[in-house]
Amino acid sequence: MAPILQAINLTKRFGGLTAADSVSLDVNAGEVIGLVGDNGAGKSTFIKMIAGVYRPDDGEIRFNGQPVAFNGPRAVRDLGIETIYQDLALAENLDVGANIFLGREIKSRYLGGLIQTVNRPRMLEESATTLTRLNIKIPSLTQQIRNLSGGQRQAVAIARTIHWNARLVIMDEPTAALGVAQQHEVLTLVRTLSDQGVPVILISHNMQDVFAVSDRIVVMRRGKKVGEREAKKTTPDEIVSLMVGAEAVHEMGVIPRALSGIQESL
């Protein structure tokens, strides 16, 4: 089966700096890809080219076999590639239903469309259906987002992309600001998405998370893709040494001190 997304030799330069250098990636249906790398490795640049935020200087993106011309983030979203950024883009003062339908509210028409109102009951109903489909439990959908936990907010953001038929979801550090239990919920949700055939690209610093949900792990370093491993056939140590550069580990003979934090979390 052909990959859903093919990124072929994507390159992005900012002045003299090559932030992403000929990076290629195939994403298949139902796959979770962990995209890892140190700060400045080029993960965000690479993702933003896929999301239509940056125009690649070189290379090609194919979605379902079709080349994707650069047309900005809206066009990419319309294709079904949804990116969930760290800030989630939820309106905290609105309820769950209103956020899932933000900007695309369901309307009731009266007097031949002369008067149109927002159909809140139906928005809540359809939100509930989507949430159920993803096994997300939120006590009350009429709650304002500000009263939800971080994990629940993340779930609402994910549910929103799914409701609008996302065919590929990119998540930028989805668990970074969450407590342990909520991290677990979000990871379960990532798994649910892929089980339903929606591939996920997960950007994360957290090795534990990456190994918990990924099928494949892609490592970037200094703008280049330096490794691609099946999660089952690799170890956190190998991934970390790819992240910092195998030579560095060899030279020092130990994991550098800067990475001891990651080491402890393994």
């Binding site: 900012f14 700096l17 932030a19 992403a20 790398g37 140190d38 700060n39 400045g40 490795a41 080029g42 993960k43 965000s44 640049t45 983030p73 809206r74 760290q86 800030d87 989630l88 883009a89 939820l90 309106a91 905290e92 003062n93 609105l94 209103a98 933000l102 900007g103 695309r104 509210e105 309307k107 149109q116 109102t117 927002v118 006590p139 709650q143 304002q144 500000r146 009263n147 936990s149 971080g150 550090e173 970074a176 600001a177 969450l178 407590g179 909520q182 950007i203 610093h205 703008g223």
Partner: protein
Amino acid sequence: MTVDSADRAPAESKAPTAKHRRNRSENLVLVRKVWPWIFLVALLATFSIASQQMNQVTFLSFRSVQGILLYASQILLIGLGETFIIIAAGIDLSAGWVLGFSSVIGAQIMQSLYASGASPVVTIVVGMLGGTLIAVVPGWINGLLVARVKVPAFITTLGMGFLVEGVALIRSGGYPVAQQPPYLGPLGNGSLLYFWPGHGFTFFNLPETATNADFQSIIPLMPNPVFVAIIVAAVCWFILAKTQFGQHLYAIGGNFEASVRAGIPVSRVLIKAYILAAVVAGIAGMVWTARFSSGAYNAGEVTTLNSIAAVVIGGASLFGGEGTIIGTVLGALIIGTIQYGLVLLGVSPFWQYVAVGLVVIFAVVMDQFGRKLGK
């Protein structure tokens, strides 16, 4: 250039349990929603007792309730437009001056039409429409500057206030624009209904069979300006609470960036909101013109800040995303009650400002208090 932020503070790590949260958020809603009602009732009770004790005047009479409503109606009208703007995290400091501007322009249209021999009815209809619609211009410019040029609303509307005040002054020479057609005064000072005990109701006019001696016993119900304010409030409520435009205003005030990313046409929504606020100010200007049978550049001089006060008392947040029409109605009623009540008690009108100021500060304190409970 790639920035991967790993060094974010774990903002949610201290999240309390879900149950805890819900109780507190219920408190938040309760405190912020209920206190204006209690306050209004307490205010009415205080004034009733005080006026009975001090002046042997019954405060809660039919006439004084209508007096309060009349006092409140202009604040309410401006406050309605202001509610839309404040929910979208803006502010309109020009509203009161747009009121005066509309009043001058509308009155001048009527003055010249009537002088050139047009019938009073045509004159009044054309003048009122013209005076109301001219407000679209400052509203539209406000919206353009705020939404597209990204000038802060505070500065834009402050400047626009001076601008329309100046234009109204230049056009009127600073004098009231009088020589208005007949019917205008009766329209502005009449009532929707007249009740003549023993004879029944009539609409708009005093009963024709009544003589001067009967007028004392006829009770006017619902002064026309109040009626206009209620209609406009109902329309505004519908727009804000029920339409997509209203929903988008809340979204923009709640999270501007998210609204942009969700594909809400943010600029268009904001421009519409500023035009709407200005048109409502225009309507208020025409109501004023009818009440006083003249136009004046400073007709809404003190109304802007009073109406912003009303919106804040009604539970709107100046940071955007919060506020309701019902809240603004309550806020306007509270300010109207204070103003009317103090006059009735024979307190110097200068004290009104002190009282309104105290209530506004109290409202913000209650808001902060509610927020703390909700955290």
